[in-house]
Amino acid sequence: MSAPSPLPAAPPRPPAAPPRPYAFPRFERRTLANGLTLVVAPVRKLPVVSVLAVVEAGADTDPAGKEGLAQLTARALVEGTADLDGAALTDRLERLGTALDASADWDAAVARMTVLTERLGEALALMGRVLTAPAFPEREVERLKAERLADLLQLRTEPRGLADEMFDRFVYAPEARYARPDGGSEASVRAVTRDDVARFYAARYRAGATTLVVAGDVSADDAERLVADSLGAWGGARPEPAPGADRPAPGGRRVHVVAKEDAPQSELRVGHVGLPRTHPDFFAVSVMNSLLGGLFSSRINLNLREAHAYTYGAHSGFDWRRGAGPFAVSTAVASDVTAPALRETLLEIDRMRAEPVSEAELSLATSYLDGVFPIRYETTAAIAAALANLHIYGLGADYFDRYRERVRAVTAADVHRAAREHLHPERLQVVVVGDPAAVRAPLEALGVGPVSVYDAEGAPLA
């Protein structure tokens, strides 16, 4: 198959033309008289607007024993208001061509919608009622609980989600909020009542703890007028921030096998507690992770997929949260190569710490992160989400204007230091959702740490 192609010589590989300038959309931040923060980015490309209501009521504010309350409260917001039941509210929004999706992640509760410009006023009026006068009908709260319990049940035979959940459980200390699912466990969800939801709402959903982000085909003045109409009468000061949620599990490196008999593949997670979003090494760590396992052409993916064909894909990532979210390598490998795939993963983590990357390799990550920046913010929804993060993590008004220069400023020495300081081979927790008969003995022979076997609910097996 090495016959020369019959075509004329190919044109030479073309160089890049001079780059055209790009600026992240301009935005304005205003504070309403009731303490509500408004952020508006006018983007006039198409007649569409995205709105995000960000409330300081994320899963990290769940009371102990009632984990999942923040998520249930956010989801129950859109299940009825004082004057519209859940079905009628849904119908009103959808006739406007939009849907109000509300959920809570670790750091905030977020209600989001994208709507055509001509219907923005009506949609914002409904959003205002949802935020200020939710009814939390008992029947709907109980239904949402039942749906969460069904999701948890499904997880027992869903290896990807199960691996993620078990990984959190083994990486964090048992009492840490991050050790448990953001949506709550079976016991904690069952313990939540409709009154808990109403109390949580009263304590956390307040104008002073809420930021409205509006991005799209609207001026700052028009947005302010519409938001003031729908939310201006809302009150409430900002409550206390959430306590820390990120205490790591004690002890050293361990291997946790979660049994899925006869599984043709092992879902593999390897990692430890990472860093909070506001850590000063954010840029160096982001570049380092891109090279380790963040990019297709990263070391771990090229090794596990292209050199060894163990997997369809392998990836590493730091989950950036207000507290220290997890760092994890994630992949699914054929059962019979589980131990070799783990060995190669550990070797790549060691290699990243052992010596600085070359300038050529460094530039793969820095030029990617620099160049891809405008592509990330093509849509009003993406721009609004970025501005929400700016607010949640207090990143500074010039953050997006300086992002690209800060990426370009990362050096090979910075990457090496980031790897040495923030990758911890001795603390790695390994989770394998797979067939114990196929993987246990090879994993023990690899000698990376004690191997334990659990069932799909995390109970130890002999």
């Binding site: 198409l46 119908d91 749906e147 290896p159």
Partner: protein
């Protein structure tokens, strides 16, 4: 909203669409080859997709894995995907890197084979087998994607067989297959190229001609697809029950529907939205909110442009609800729609949601380019992108009701029902008082895996 569309065709048959948008220094390059799993020969299921993987393994002037690296170094995103009727390849790059993206696509369209080796094929074969394990074999309900078309299309039909392919057929694929498939299908006259975003039209045209102009058209050996036409309905209920390693019963129910883009397609698409798009849809309102027998529902069309489309309803049971109850509840909703039709306000809810999605999706250069390529590939006319909003807005309740009357009766339903392997837990209602199920009949259906009338 009007997407600008400018087209031309090179002498070698390559159809090119240019669509300018200078709001950001970004450009999307998107190539559709009019070949998919439907074109595979017997014994080579999965080959179109395996071949897609090989297109990222380099070409005469591009090293193994260099395609990904060059695009990512340029600050771009990229991927490819394989579907029943087509395979697409796409990258979005900073606009000053347009020439590189075009050069990479042209090199693999014109000069792929010199870079192909047995080792690369063996590696990608194993990668794809792992993709199969990951997305199909080791995923709850993961086989639905190959079982439902197998149930809904007759055995000889090009849409019947598995897109990801069987392990056996993947093992059998050879370098000769790669060479033949490439020569047959990866020719400029069987492809459309779209460039969308920030570029100078004269410069873009010059680059396209320079990069792609010397690639020869196909030699005419491309075999036509076998006849794809099927009757408008199955003619009888089709049903398969699959015991699987799952916790909850889940029903995939397919109806034959008018092909994508035809006049009759739009009422069918709106009917799907009325049934299962978002929480205000009929199935969500009835089965999830009111009767609480389902945990999740959705409905969608495959958007197949040849032979027959499929409208699919996908419903997962609540814990404690039997497979039989789930099936009966879905049938009740479909019967009601089939007999009673829809109201005008249901149509307006659906078309309002679709209208917003159409505008919002056009914000992304990649999505714009992909849609332009789609209309160019299937209908030779990318400007159809600008007619979609009006086509949906014109749909009436009468048209949707007629579709439901003609196509949603019991004789046009193919049911693929997943039940927990451990039938004791999953097929029987926990709350027997609320549902008079017949345990004997349930035991019989849970044991059967074939198609039964």
């Amino acid at each position: 909203m009007r997407i600008p569309v400018d087209t031309f065709r090179l002498a070698n048959g390559l159809f090119v669409t240019l669509s300018e948008d200078h709001t950001a220094p970004i450009v999307a390059v998107n190539l559709w080859y009019h070949v998919g799993s439907a074109n595979e020969r017997a014994g080579r299921t999965g080959f179109a997709h395996l071949f897609e993987h090989m297109l990222f393994q380099g070409s005469e002037n591009v090293g193994a894995n260099e395609h990904f690296e060059l695009v990512q170094r340029a600050g771009g995103t990229l991927n490819g995907s394989t579907w029943l009727e087509r395979t697409n390849y796409f990258e979005t790059v900073p606009s000053n890197q347009l020439a590189l993206a075009l050069w990479l696509e042209a090199d693999r369209m014109g000069r792929l084979l010199p870079a192909m080796t047995q080792q690369k094929l063996d590696t990608q074969r194993d990668v794809v087998k792992n993709e199969r394990r990951w997305s199909v074999d080791n995923q709850p309900y993961g086989t639905w994607w190959e079982r439902l078309p197998a149930l809904a299309f007759p055995p000889e039909h090009p849409f019947h067989h598995s897109l990801i392919g069987s392990m056996e057929d993947l093992s059998a694929a050879s370098l000769d297959d790669v060479a033949t498939f490439f020569a047959t299908y990866y020719t400029p006259d069987n492809a459309v190229l779209t460039v969308a975003g920030d570029f100078d039209p004269a410069e873009a045209r010059r680059l396209v001609e320079q990069m792609f102009g010397s690639i020869p058209r196909g030699d005419g050996s491309r075999p036509p697809l076998p006849p794809m036409d099927v009757p408008p309905t199955f003619g009888r209920p089709l049903r398969a029950v699959v015991p699987d390693d799952v916790m909850l019963p889940r029903l995939f129910l397919a109806a034959r529907a008018p092909v994508f883009g035809s006049d009759a397609y739009y009422p069918a698409s709106v009917c799907g939205a009325i049934l299962g798009m978002r929480k205000g849809s009929r199935l969500h309102r009835s089965l999830v909110r009111e009767r609480q027998v389902a945990n999740e529902v959705t409905a969608f069309t495959f958007d197949l442009a040849k032979g027959s489309d499929l409208l699919v309803v996908d419903v997962t049971a609540r814990p404690g609800v039997s497979a039989e109850t789930l099936e009966r509840e879905v049938a009740r909703e479909l019967d009601q729609l089939h007999r009673g039709g829809v109201a005008e306000d249901e149509v307006r809810r659906a078309t309002a949601l679709i209208a917003t999605d159409l505008v919002a999706s056009m914000q992304s250069a990649s999505e714009r380019a992909d849609q332009l390529s789609k209309f160019a590939t299937y209908f030779g006319d990318p400007s159809l992108i600008n007619e979609q909003a009006a086509r949906y807005a014109a749909v009436t309740a009468e048209q949707v009701s007629a579709f439901a009357r003609e196509r949603l009766g019991p004789e046009n339903r193919a049911s693929l029902l997943y039940v927990p392997k451990d039938a004791e837990d999953g097929t029987r209602d926990a709350d027997a008082a609320s549902d008079a199920s017949d345990p004997q009949r349930e035991a019989a259906t849970a044991a059967a895996t074939g198609v039964v009338a």
